[in-house]
């Protein structure tokens, strides 16, 4: 199959998801209408509890929709038998997987379930698909290891391979990066981007790491606190404010330039850094964490980065116009800057280096 004009594989049509209980229906998300095409990597983002997992489960057919429908290749999922859904949608869930003594290869082979006969016997084609899925996921070298012995990152790769072994058109992943360290998160997301692009799978990933999502997504599905979903390209949603809106939190602001959240810094004292290259960037970083807002000169507090004697450390001079103090490390500069900040409008003059214990007290209070 050549995937040239990729139409939508997945279509959500006025979908409402939530829970039916005796006490009444609780709608989590309503009127969700959007599509996902083959080869696209979409991220489902939103604050905790906004209904990301509920939406994923409803798309996977694990829980019935309250109204509206999920269409796969134009056919409503609600009317498909489970085995047919499983040949079109595969999932990596948040459920803890404890498959006893199964090896990674055997875990992946379970993905052939919807394709095999009553006994689950694998033929040569099944074995080829399993091995190819493991190679695609970078898990081929883990094949003979017991799943329970793998690290979290390796487990996620094996579980992605298991999902690929189902040969789905749509791949759903619920919070797949939660237990991974930052390099592991990036590695998994590039893997998913490659899977989407090369295997022409529509990949939908839920996460509450909106920064990571904005950087990797082809499409973003943003769940708001009001129970609606807005879909679009990450940059468009950043520009319109739709991305940052649901995450609006006191003390944190979304910086559209870096696509990341930073501390609210309006009203802080300002400082300017004179210097070039990495030393200047790091000096600015030290001042920021000490509670300053970095501005272009002139500013009441000035920090000049000196060329280090041998490149071993970054030497700086901090000055507020009335006094100048030289520091041989950025740690020492930042400690000084914190003291200046807490002293309010006090000048630098007369504030010599304080004993560490006192600094610690200030810092922890």
């Amino acid at each position: 199959m050549t995937g040239e004009a990729d139409g939508p594989v997945l279509r959500l049509d006025a979908l409402a998801v939530g829970y039916r209980a005796r006490a009444g229906t609780r709608t989590v998300l309503a009127d969700v209408t959007t599509t996902l095409a083959a080869g696209e990597l979409a991220f489902l983002v939103g604050p905790n509890g906004a209904g990301k997992s509920t939406l994923l489960r409803s798309i996977a057919g694990l829980q019935p929709a309250l109204s509206g429908q999920v269409l796969l290749d134009g056919q409503p999922v609600a009317r498909m038998p489970r085995s047919q859904i499983a040949r079109k949608i595969a999932a990596v869930l948040t459920d803890r997987v404890d498959p006893g003594r199964l090896r990674a290869w055997e875990v992946v082979s379970l993905g052939r379930h919807p394709h095999t006969g009553w006994s689950g016997r694998l033929d040569d084609h099944d074995r080829d698909v399993i091995s190819a899925a493991m190679r695609r996921s970078g898990a081929a070298h883990l094949a003979a290891q017991e799943f329970s012995q793998l690290s979290d990152g390796q487990r996620q790769r094996v579980l992605v391979a298991r999902a690929l072994a189902q040969q789905p058109g749509v791949l759903l992943l619920d919070e797949p990066t939660s237990f991974l360290d930052p390099p592991g998160q990036i590695a998994l997301l590039s893997l998913l981007a490659e899977v989407a692009a090369v295997e022409r799978v529509a990949v939908l990933v839920s996460t509450n790491d909106v920064e990571l999502a904005a950087r990797h997504a082809d499409m973003l599905w943003v769940v708001g606190r009001d129970g609606t979903l807005t879909a679009g390209g990450p940059e468009d949603l950043v520009y319109s404010g739709a991305l940052a809106g649901p995450f609006d939190t006191e003390g944190a602001i979304f910086d559209p330039a870096t696509l990341s959240f930073t501390t609210e810094d309006a009203g802080r004292r300002t400082a300017a850094v004179h210097g070039d290259g990495l030393p200047a960037l790091l000096a600015a970083h030290a001042l920021r964490r000490a509670g300053f807002r970095i501005v272009d000169p002139p500013a009441p507090v000035r920090v000049t980065v000196l060329p280090g004697p041998d490149g071993a450390g970054i030497h700086t001079i901090i000055s507020d116009g009335s006094a100048e103090v030289r520091h041989a490390s950025l740690e020492s500069l930042a400690r000084h800057a914190r003291r200046v900040r807490s002293a309010g409008h006090a000048t630098l003059a007369g504030t010599g280096p304080a004993p560490p214990s006192r600094v610690n007290q200030e810092h922890s209070s």
Partner: protein, 361 residues
Amino acid sequence: MTVLPPVSKPAPPEPALRRTGVPVRFAVLAVVLAAVIVAGIAIGPVRIPVAEIVRGLTGRPTQPGDWAIIYEVRLPRTITATLCGAALGVAGLQMQALFRNPLADPYVLGVSSGASLGVAIAVLAGGNAAAGLFEVSFGVLGDLGSVVAACAGAAVVLAIVLALGRVARSSNTLLLLGVMLSFLVFAAIEVLLAGASPLRIQQYVEWEFGSFEGVTWPNLQIMVPVLAAGLLAATAGIKSLNALLLGERYAATMGLHLGRARLAIIISSSLLAGTVTAFAGPIAFLGIAIPHVARTVFRSSDHRVLLPACILIGAAMALASDILAQLPGSGVLPLNAMTALFGAPVVIFVLVRAHRQEVPV
């Protein structure tokens, strides 16, 4: 949709995965089972030489007295023990997969008690209410109706545990639910038996100890086909058992119809556990222990290996327990004391290991 294989080179065979030793281990198990079977026929109050057994079983002339003992006593006991052991092992394996709980088995979850209650009700409702309750039913049970009642009782308890287990998801809660249900069911049995004669109560206590003795050839004509049907049904469900290894929700995303799979497991494991209980009494620990022994011996969790392994290991362990219980000089010990001797250490081992791994269940 996606076609994975063409994207990559032809898949090499996965050499590291070839489970060397699986056929070897099955062969060793088969030899062990054969040896235990011969021992089971040889050992008893009257000792029969192995040469005599081989002659008798291959249809050559033997001492008339020896053959009578072999045919009337030892063979039925051996067949009962091997089949019941295989059935309990497979039922335990199914329940451990269904509940995702390494300590599940027919006895712990109260399924065997449910089978006992079924038998008691069937006999009481069968007209001869109080008269000779245990002579007719427990132990020497030749009545298909009682087997049906036992299986129904087992299925009802299993369905209740499953329903309650879906509300209280913790694995320890599930085991406690099973224990509580057992108490309830045994209380019901005692109410049913109120007013029974001391003799019958004595017989009831003996039946509760469990025994493979006293099952006759006519009994076997019912027991063998029913257990064979249960084992076949379990074999047909191997694919679902493997899918359930990743948990119910993963199994559902792989196309497993959970409702149907659960029903199939309930039916086949109730057939197995109910029939065993009807003929041999509620037998403890074998159902838990056998699957763990199988997993340890084969270092696998693949049910395509574990299910036949449980049949072989279950048959051998049940028969070995029965032989130990009847060793000359030991008097006749309760079978359940012997199975506990095998099974309780296995359970303790599993508990300690689970705790050491700090598996948050």
